[in-house]
């Protein structure tokens, strides 16, 4: 904290902090206010006498109702949830095992293999979707959730592996050695000792992987075509922008509802688990 007179605290801490927060939260505010504003206000010209973009006196649920009644938003939500959970689960399992192997088992080229895995994460999706589309087509997976559940791990597994590698390296190797002297096999030592200790790391990898797949756009746009198969980001943008007409109310309501699960995942897990699993070693 900044020491000294109170005005210094205000000038150098509270005011910049407030400005920063304002800047950061404004898009969310805009999203919320647009999603509850009646159409009459949304499409009012800027120079009309009662133009008031930052507030509304007549909030409405019309846009949300429109989303659920006139579009397939409910199926998009379900699709996104299913796809995100499934691909996160696959990637976490692979990432945990790969991360453990790369950080703990001494085998030739472990180091360079780790780097190679990370490099695959750096290949941009905007290039990768072209060959992947070919593969998806050959296996006749196009327009099914599996086209995404199986392609998202191409960037999620390297990501999870990398996070878990770092996490496993931080777990003292004596814990595992002690377990092995205590009578655990390598597998049991990993299952009963190393993985429980690494739970905070697994959770953070999981949250990030979930968010990445929840928000993923380009693969979903390319691999899914029928409206009832779409995910939230693709469905909202493709079904609620018709030609050059933007249905701002439902668009923003869709964006808002789409971001709530991610926000819940963050606040719930971060608060609950990431803190306080230390103190095994040293005194």
């Amino acid at each position: 904290m900044i020491e000294g007179a109170r005005w210094r605290k205000w000038v150098f801490f509270y005011v910049p902090m407030a400005l920063f927060l304002l800047f950061l939260l404004f898009p969310f505010y805009w999203m919320v206010i647009t999603s509850v504003r009646p159409d009459g206000e949304l499409y009012r010209p800027w120079n009309s006498s009662n133009y008031n973009p930052f507030w509304t006196w007549k909030p409405t649920w019309d846009h949300v109702r429109y989303l659920f009644e006139e579009t397939l938003f409910a199926s998009w939500l379900w699709n996104t949830t299913f796809i995100a959970l499934a691909s996160t689960a696959i990637s976490l399992v692979c990432g945990v095992f790969a991360g453990y192997a790369l950080s703990r088992l001494n085998f030739p080229f472990a180091g360079s293999l780790g780097t190679a895995i990370f490099i695959t994460y750096l290949v941009p999706q905007t290039l990768l979707f072209i060959p992947l589309a070919e593969i998806i087509r050959n296996y006749r997976l196009g327009d099914t959730p599996w086209s995404l559940i199986l392609t998202y791990p191409t960037f999620l597994i390297p990501f999870c592996t990398w996070i878990m590698m770092g996490y496993f390296k931080a777990v003292p190797k004596e814990l595992e050695e002690c377990a092995r002297i205590d009578g655990a096999s390598r597998w049991q030592a990993m299952l009963y000792i190393v993985i429980p200790v690494a739970v905070p790391g697994i959770l953070s990898a999981g949250i990030f992987a979930f968010t990445l797949s929840w928000n993923e756009f380009i693969y979903a746009l390319v691999f899914l075509s029928s409206p009832e198969q779409k995910t939230v980001p693709v469905g909202v943008t493709s079904e609620l922008i018709r030609g050059d007409v933007f249905y701002w109310g439902p668009l923003m309501a869709g964006a808002l509802l789409g971001s709530i699960p991610v926000a819940i995942a963050y606040s719930f897990f971060v608060e609950h688990y990431v803190a306080g699993l230390t103190g095994s070693v040293k005194g």
Binding site: C178, I181, G183, G279
Partner: protein, 363 residues
């Protein structure tokens, strides 16, 4: 039973020869301490006995069975680590029960053994706590408890006290000793602290650069060090050394260097007959040096100038300049000395150590 035999043990880490041809017999019920400076190979040796490190060559046997290829879990040993390595997500009870559960013991037996160990170590009230709610000393006890419940053939300790503060360390040292007397299990204990080695060990192995320098009972190491390294490592403050040349004058042997000229006592002279004219290393412990008085008539004496006076209460340490070199003497707390004083210092003739200047072996 718990007899451990190391035969021709070597360990290479890539091109580094970390442990060189170690041969040792650790007897049943013995408390064996490995001591040496860091990097001397003592921990590596312990880890090889535990099975955590592969042996490059040689044989390790426990109770007559070669265990080279056995996994750690099959060697019937228990190990206490320097950082305790308590499982952070388990309670104290579960920490101690883990090894028994892994070995498929019955629930009542696990219960009995854990409570028994908790009783011995005085951690009965802590059983439901988690490691992070414990103090350093308590964690140490839990780590010990986890080893005790297994009733192994051999305990392995890897510097278990080095994370504790000085006072607690002394306390735990005494408890470890008591525990060993009570349980009678063979213990192999690694430390870099020579005081721990001297106080705990039935026998002590001094290692340096992967080579065993000497094996023996604590007082044997103290009184008859095999070489200059052991002499300097065991004992605090460390032994004083002076490089001297031995000459013969009037039928007796004289050791001298630029600031020192002493007549060697007869028994020492006997051993040095063959070394006349050679460079030798003279060693004398601080407590074997006294301010010369009438009682020291006939003892070897030399002149010194006091540079630093360290009052310890029970004794006074004098840092003295003797010719070119510095020597430390530990004298009675009643001695009246000041910085700058010129002194005549006597050494106890029977306590003189002599080492070969080249090989550093004791003569």
């Amino acid at each position: 039973m718990g007899q451990v035999v190391l035969k021709g043990i070597n360990k290479f880490f890539d091109s580094v020869h970390a442990v060189k041809d170690v041969n040792l017999q650790i007897r049943d019920k013995e408390f064996m301490v490995f001591v040496g400076p860091s990097g001397c190979g003592k921990t590596t040796t312990l880890r090889m006995i535990a099975g955590l490190e592969a042996i490059s060559s040689g044989d390790i046997s426990i109770d007559g069975n070669v265990v080279n290829e056995l996994a750690p879990m099959d060697r019937d040993i228990a190990m206490v680590f320097q950082n305790y390595a308590l499982y952070p997500h388990m309670t104290v009870y579960d920490n101690m029960a883990f090894g028994l559960k892994m070995r498929k013991f019955e629930k009542p037996e696990i219960d009995k053994r854990v409570l028994e160990a908790a009783e011995i170590l005085g951690i009965g009230e802590l059983l439901q706590r988690r490691p992070r709610q414990l103090s350093g000393g308590q964690r140490q006890r839990v780590a010990l408890g986890r080893a005790i419940v297994r009733h192994p053939r051999v305990f392995l300790f890897d510097e278990p006290l080095s994370n504790l503060d000085a006072k607690l360390r002394v306390q735990m040292r005494v408890e470890l000793k008591k525990l060993h007397l009570r349980l009678g299990t063979t213990a192999i204990y690694v430390t870099h602290d020579q005081v721990e080695a001297m106080t705990l060990g039935d026998r002590v192995v001094v290692m340096k650069d992967g080579v065993v320098q000497q094996v023996g009972e604590p007082l044997e190491l103290y009184n008859q060090p095999a070489n200059k390294f052991v002499a300097g490592f065991i004992g605090s403050p460390a032994m004083n050394f002076a490089a001297v040349t031995v000459t013969e004058a009037n039928g007796s042997l004289i050791a001298e260097n630029s600031g020192l000229r002493i007549r060697l006592p007869d028994e020492t002279a006997q051993r040095l007959r063959g070394h006349i004219g050679r460079e030798l290393m003279l060693g004398v412990r601080p407590e074997d040096l006294t301010v010369a008085g009438s009682a020291d008539l006939g003892h070897p004496c030399f002149d010194a100038v006091i540079e630093v006076v360290e009052q310890l209460g029970s004794e006074i340490l004098l840092d003295m300049k003797v010719g070119e070199s510095i020597m430390v003497a530990s004298v009675e707390p009643t001695a009246r000395v000041r910085v700058g004083d010129k002194l005549r210092v006597a050494m106890r003739p029977s306590r003189l150590h002599v080492f070969d200047a080249q090989t550093e072996a004791a003569i």
